[in-house]
Amino acid sequence: MATQNSAVLARTGDNPFLRTVAALSTLAGWCAAAMIVISVGITCQMIFVRFVLNGSTYWQTEAVTYLVIAATLVGLPYVQRLRGHVNVDLIPLALRPRARFILSMLTSALSISIVAVMLWFGYEYWHFAWDRGWRSDTIWAVPLWIPYLALPLGFGLLLLQLIADAYAVLTGIDKPFSLE
């Protein structure tokens, strides 16, 4: 069944590592929500400037685009913690607990590897932009390392949350796939 377990949170028990990661992810979630709210504000400001003041707007569209990207990337760990990334758990539901546990370890290992790859190459991409002083080819000419920073940051935090999730299943604090 495709689920977005709205009621389920990643369980932390009283494990200090899990609690720290949960706190970090929650903080990231607040930042993501704040960035979305700021993009509402900037877009409304842009419309006001353009239609009411008849002024020109050159930075708003770009700023809002980068804010939404950053909100997405930085929001990833928080949504992972809320179990909000929609999934289809047909196979896990059909498995016995032992097999389900093994499958959950396998999918965790794959997720952790792919996110680690994204973190590594995301960091490299950001570093290129930083080293070579890349700027966006618009009038605003934003130094691109600023928006690109969201890549290593988001994937880094997501990696932490995924490791914490796998650890919680390994130690029995959380159930595989958060299924009862």
Partner: protein, 438 residues
């Protein structure tokens, strides 16, 4: 390796990975990375973050969180209950007014909130007990709400349509308009079936409704009109060419939040955070799938799978309606298992060239695709809406809900057939308002 065979292997791998409980977005990235490593070496993964970022680097995507905030703000209030009450009070003279007003409330609320499960919960919580109290059969009470809740992805403003528009680079304005008449058609079919089934159950008494005085009718309006006015305003601004969908949606989001705060007294920081948290969660989830699907379609085209499938299908030289039927079956099956957004993002880049080459209109196809996705929402094994109804009316068995929903699935199939016979149902309104498509 033959790209077609490779395509088959990718498809099977994708299905296995997606069913393994890993999140849809993560699954798409895992499959993409695996095949890229296999055929182009580990170094080819270097491009993944750039593609991921590039897919999100699009101002049009702002429309997604904005429409989601609008919906979440509306869904957090009593607006659903008010809407339900308003329609019930205003539709008393219509025979079978209760089930009709329930379906109407579902259509309006699901369009406003953009969320199927939220609609089922908001309208169903009031509507289902009321219908059962008045003697409507359980299957009709539950089925009508489950089906009514699916209308939101078709009737504008619809996040599903926005995602389709972005994935296929078609006009979101046109897509929204294209959903209007088919949406009304579906509501009418749903209403007709509900009335017929209620009459057939032999319980005529349930069709009579309570009378309401004019003051009772007027009293509910101030609580429902503002949200409806905003939605209409947003759509009007979009079609007036005043601003892009993203821009008007941002204003709409701000206004919906303000109305929720002023009219529905949503003052407490906790309540506001709930709205923001839910919309952030939903937006991030969808945007993550969009970016991951971008990586996935990069993998497909860099291994020449997309191109080969398109060539293969055109070489088959099948009748276009046979092709469409096959595409429909594919979408239907995909929709049984996967959420609409994921199906659209994975299927659109592959199917759209095939569909347009066969002479079908991409805007019309969006409507067909969306109705297929609606069927998935009320069919097993996923059928999100069925479980929501089961949650709010636990004493109606899942089986009854399912059986009650089946006739509504039939209504949707009829709507698809009607749309095939009369494509104008979808394309007439966008052509009228925005000029003929080029």
């Amino acid at each position: 390796m033959d790209p077609l065979l490779l395509g088959g292997i990718v498809a099977i791998a994708t299905i296995l990975v997606l069913f393994s409980g890993v999140s849809v977005a993560m699954g798409l990235m895992i499959v993409s990375a695996a095949f890229l490593i296999l055929f182009d070496g580990f170094g080819s993964l270097e491009l993944m973050p750039e593609i991921f970022f590039g897919k999100l680097d699009n101002f049009a995507l702002l429309a997604i969180p904005m429409f989601i905030i609008m919906g979440a703000a509306i869904a957090s209030t009593r607006a659903g209950a008010d809407l339900y009450e308003a329609l019930e009070r205003w539709l008393t003279r219509v025979p079978g007014g209760l089930v009709i007003s329930n379906l109407g409330a579902c259509a309006l609320f699901s369009a406003m909130s953009g969320s199927s499960p939220a609609t089922c919960a908001a309208i169903g919580k009031m509507g289902i007990p009321e219908m059962r109290k008045r003697g409507y059969p359980d299957g009709i009470s539950a089925g009508s709400i489950a089906a009514g809740g699916t209308l939101g992805i078709l009737i504008p403003p619809s996040v599903t349509m926005i995602v389709y528009g972005i994935a296929t680079e078609t006009s979101i304005g046109r897509l929204f308009l294209a959903g209007v008449i088919p949406g009304l058609l579906l509501v009418s079919l749903f209403m007709a079936w509900s009335l017929y089934a209620t009459l057939r159950s032999g319980n005529m008494a349930v069709l009579s409704t309570r009378r309401y005085s004019w003051s009772e009718k007027i009293e509910v309006l101030p609580r429902v009109l503002p949200f409806i006015a905003i939605i209409i305003g947003v759509l009007y601004a979009m079609y007036g060419g005043v601003a892009t969908p993203s821009e008007t949606a941002a204003v709409g989001a701000l206004l919906c939040l303000l109305i929720a705060m002023v009219i529905y007294k949503l003052w407490s920081p906790v309540a506001i955070w709930d709205v923001l948290r839910d919309s952030t969660k939903e937006s991030v989830m969808i945007l993550f799938i969009i970016a991951a699907a971008g990586v996935f379609s990069y993998m497909l085209s860099s291994l020449f799978i997309t191109q080969s499938i398109a060539e293969w299908i055109s070489a088959l030289d099948v009748n276009r309606w046979v092709l469409l039927a096959a595409v429909n079956v594919f979408l239907l099956v995909a929709g049984f298992f996967l959420p609409p957004v994921a199906v659209i993002l994975m299927a659109a880049p592959i199917l759209l060239p095939v569909i347009t080459a066969a002479g079908f209109d991409p805007i019309w196809f969006a409507v067909i695709l969306t109705i297929n996705m609606e069927i998935g929402l009320i069919s097993p094994p996923v059928g999100l809406n069925l479980y929501v109804i089961n949650g709010i009316a636990p004493d109606i068995s899942l089986r009854t809900i399912l059986v009650g929903s089946l006739p509504f699935v039939a209504c949707m199939v009829i709507a698809i057939l009607l749309l095939c016979l009369f494509p104008g149902l979808a394309t007439w309104l966008p052509d009228l308002v925005m000029g003929p498509a080029i």
